[in-house]
């Protein structure tokens, strides 16, 4: 309960102003495609040079929290996931926005972000020493199996056809092999300089999600009668909160999945949202509504990606190992103030660390408050006529993919993937499994090669990958997940999730 003593530092005028500024600024930065949480925090580091350690960290913590949540805005309204964390948010969120329920989607997204985020920070406050030991137990073979577990959900993610889902996943896995192999330095499928660093995840996200819909809007724009005039009904906050209480299951799944996955260095933020989305779909009686603008998926995804924020700081604060690119930037922010993270950080710098953590707790609540304030007017974007919308999204897509590495090559990659995806969508493929393949490919591949080298110096691959409690638990999960998909898709024919209400199918 020691942390309670340090709330005073958060509400000190200067610190609180930074917290407010960081939160509002972070929401705006997060909502801008291409500006990921990592970049937002890196941009702020030079400003912290002139502040005290506590103030600097309050600013960085506030920006981290709110950029993660802010990414939901462009994901929902424009179907441009600002960062991998928001992919799953775009799936149902954008469908809701298209129906005119953008304000509701934003309300739910910020509320569930807040719930997940607060629980995640509480875990950080109370369980850090225990969690730090867990982090060390997750080793190369385990991360490999976790990535394989992710691969098993590809087929069922946001696809009307299981086989087409798997095929899109394979395309994604293949795309992920492009570029220099980072360890050996071997060239793979590099035909143009722009591809030498591989396909960047942010240009890929923007291209795969935003460009097909721009092309769709342009196609529809040629036929006047197809331009939809949307009414955006007013959304009461109390109604949104009532609605959220209907999705306690999705909220709990999201928070639990997000907190656990957030702990795993190098994997966390990228897949937490997608895994939570998939799990909550599998456990939902209204499974077939997912992907059509069902709030449950949105709630799971958003609670997961903010629940991840707290636990992702555990390895950073206690072991001095940054678990994510954003945490690496935060480490820089700590070092420059002569604060060396380690298991004794809470004894050596209680003032700084507790104020930092407390400010993130308060920041979560401010983030919900400001997020909801901007929700109602931001949702009006959906009323923009299709031609303006298409042009606007295209501009943001080019801007976002360029700004990642100030590289025109990334813009070309973004456009090429976008046009390819537009054609694939016409044949019933979808972007989400493809992106999941793109994310998981390197994680599985690198941990496999690394595991094989380690195994070769020890007792061989069989012992290394297939024995040990954690390996066996993960392998069982993989088998269960494959069996589930097989049962659902192969042995239960005649189920057409897309057709009609079909509630009698859901058991």
């Amino acid at each position: 309960m020691e942390f309670l003593g340090y709330f005073g530092g958060v509400f000190e005028p200067w610190a609180f102003m930074l917290l407010l500024g960081g939160t509002v600024g972070g929401l705006i930065l997060g909502a801008t495609p291409g500006l990921s949480p990592t970049m937002a925090v890196a941009l702020l580091i030079p400003f912290t040079f002139h502040m005290s350690a506590t103030h600097g960290l309050v600013l960085l913590g506030a920006a981290y929290t709110s950029t993660v949540a802010g990414g939901a805005v462009s994901a929902i309204l424009l179907k441009i996931p600002g960062a991998p964390a928001n992919i799953a948010t775009a799936l149902d969120g954008n469908e809701m926005a298209k129906r005119g329920e953008g304000a509701k989607a934003l309300h739910l997204s910020f509320l569930s972000s807040g719930v997940g985020g607060v629980i995640g920070i509480l875990l950080l406050i109370f369980l850090t020493p225990v969690l730090a030991q867990w982090v060390l137990k997750i080793q190369t073979p385990h991360v490999f199996w976790i990535a394989i577990l992710g691969v098993t959900v590809i087929g069922s993610l946001d696809s009307k056809s299981f086989v087409k889902g798997l095929l899109s996943g394979c395309i994604g896995l293949w795309l992920s092999t492009i570029g220099y192999d980072e360890i050996q330095g071997t060239e793979r499928f590099i035909f143009a300089d722009a591809l030498s660093g591989g396909i960047g995840i942010i240009p890929a996200l923007i291209g795969l999600f935003a460009i097909p819909q721009v092309l769709d809007m342009m196609a529809k724009g040629r036929v006047d009668s197809l331009i939809e005039a949307l009414e955006v009904p007013k959304q009461k906050l109390s109604a949104s909160i009532r609605e959220l209480t209907k999705y306690v299951r999705a909220l709990s799944i999201g928070t639990v999945v997000g907190s656990i996955i957030g702990l795993i260095p190098g994997v966390g933020g990228q897949i937490a949202g997608l895994v939570a989305y998939d799990q909550s779909r599998k456990m939902s009686p209204q499974r077939e509504k997912f992907g059509t603008g069902h709030p449950e998926g949105l709630v799971a995804a958003e609670s997961a990606n903010n629940a991840m924020v707290g636990p992702s700081l555990v390895p950073l604060l206690t072991l001095s190992i940054p678990g994510s690119p954003t945490a690496a930037v935060l480490l820089g922010g700590l070092l420059i103030k002569e604060i060396f993270p380690g298991s004794d950080i809470f004894e050596k710098h209680p003032e700084v660390v507790w104020t930092f953590i407390n400010s993130m707790l308060v920041g979560q609540i401010l983030m919900v408050f400001f997020g909801i304030m901007i929700a109602s007017w931001a949702a009006k974007i959906a009323r923009a006529p299709a031609p303006i919308m298409a042009a606007g999204v295209l501009v943001l897509a080019v801007f976002g993919s360029y700004s990642v590495g100030q590289s025109v090559g990334d813009v070309h990659i973004m456009l090429a993937l976008g046009v390819g995806m537009f054609i694939l969508e016409k044949f019933g493929f979808s972007a989400a499994p493809l992106v999941l393949g793109l994310i998981l490919g390197p994680i599985a591949g690198d941990n496999f090669t690394q595991g094989m080298t380690l195994a070769a110096a020890q007792d061989g691959p069989w012992v290394y990958f297939f024995t040990g409690t954690l390996n066996i638990i993960l392998i069982s999960l993989v088998v269960a997940s494959i069996a589930y998909s097989f049962w659902n898709n192969m042995l239960a024919p005649g189920k057409k999730p897309a057709a009609g209400p079909a509630t009698e199918d859901a058991k």
Binding site: G197, P442, A457
Partner: protein, 322 residues
């Protein structure tokens, strides 16, 4: 008419000369970009942001420096871009990491070599150190080498990748002790390699001195040796590998500094070579670097040119047959 034409050409030529002259005199008249071949938040990015923070002072360059991150493929993407596409006008510099880019160019498959770039100055040197977990049975380099000799190829040793300082140090140790380690290049850089050591996934690790220093302060690792010519002020109790009886020099030390593409006007190079070391030596820079546990080593253009040439010879020999 003909004469008029001639005069015009002459005038244009004079103008062009005047423009070049004034170009160098006015340089720099707008902000300068520094490309970093690693992501935001990495050690190179972090240090580059600190050492360039006083560039805007009138007595340094009079123009601010901003950082451009071009990460990918262990630095290859950024340096490929810098060697082939970056304008050679002095407004785009790049951070270099030695031995990385020289080792990569020896290995091949990239569009640069040491001849593609002109060094300006060096700001930092981060030696590789040998670390083991805090509960490890190894307490000295001797313990580790004895084990490696008894169990060839079983001494799992993590490092940040292939053809980086950590890898070079591992190769040098193997050569010096005539024994075989099992070098494990981890994806995710030094941080992932350090986690493998702390978590007991590997028996030993080779890592940056700055990161190992922090990990030791936090009580997570023991540092057995430094791959440098002299002991380091941050960890003066740790012997060099040479003291520990291994013939390992400073070839694996990770040097960081600034460079420009070949073809940059000599006047610009001269101006940068004169001013940039002053920028690195600024007291505010030194204070921040020390606070962050980042060892500094300022070298001027001539010293860096020599260091690059020396490194190339050693690395060519070491990487032969790999």
């Amino acid at each position: 008419m003909k004469r008029l034409f001639k005069t015009a050409i002459l005038a244009a030529a004079t103008l062009a000369v005047a423009a070049t002259g004034s170009f160098a005199a006015d340089y720099p008249d707008r902000p300068i970009g520094v490309a970093v071949s690693y992501g935001a938040g990495g050690a190179t990015d972090f240090q580059a942001r600190i050492v360039t923070m006083v560039a805007g002072n009138a007595d340094i360059l009079g123009q601010p420096i901003y950082i451009l991150n071009k990460p990918g493929a262990g630095g290859r993407k950024g340096w490929n871009w810098f060697a082939t596409e970056a304008p050679a006008d002095g407004y785009t510099m790049s951070a270099y990491n030695i031995p990385h880019f020289i080792a990569q160019s020896i290995k091949g498959g990239v569009k640069y070599s040491a001849d593609s770039f002109e060094p300006i100055a060096n700001w930092g040197s981060d030696p590789a150190v040998v670390v083991v977990g805090k509960d490890s049975k190894f307490n000295s380099m001797q313990d580790l080498i004895d084990y490696a000799k008894a169990n060839p190829g079983k001494t799992t040793t993590s490092g940040a990748g292939l053809f980086v300082g950590h890898h070079i140090a591992a190769l040098q140790i193997e050569k010096a002790c005539a024994c075989k380690l099992a070098y494990i290049p981890t994806k995710g850089g030094g941080a992932a390699a350090m986690k493998a050591v702390i978590g007991g996934e590997v028996l030993a690790g080779i890592n940056n001195l700055s990161d190992a220093f922090r990990a030791r302060e936090a009580g997570n690792v023991k540092i057995l040796g430094v791959a440098d010519l002299e002991r380091n002020d941050f960890i003066s109790d740790v012997p060099t590998l040479k003291e520990a009886g291994l013939d390992v020099d400073n070839s694996s030390v990770n040097f960081r500094g600034l460079m420009v593409p070949k073809g940059t006007p000599q006047a610009v190079i001269d101006k940068l070579a004169k001013q940039v070391p002053l920028m690195f030596a600024h007291e505010r820079v030194a204070k921040r670097m020390k606070a962050g546990g980042s060892p500094m080593k300022i070298m001027n253009r001539e010293e860096v040119q020599k260091m690059w040439a020396d490194r190339e010879v050693v690395l060519k020999d070491l990487l032969k047959g790999l």
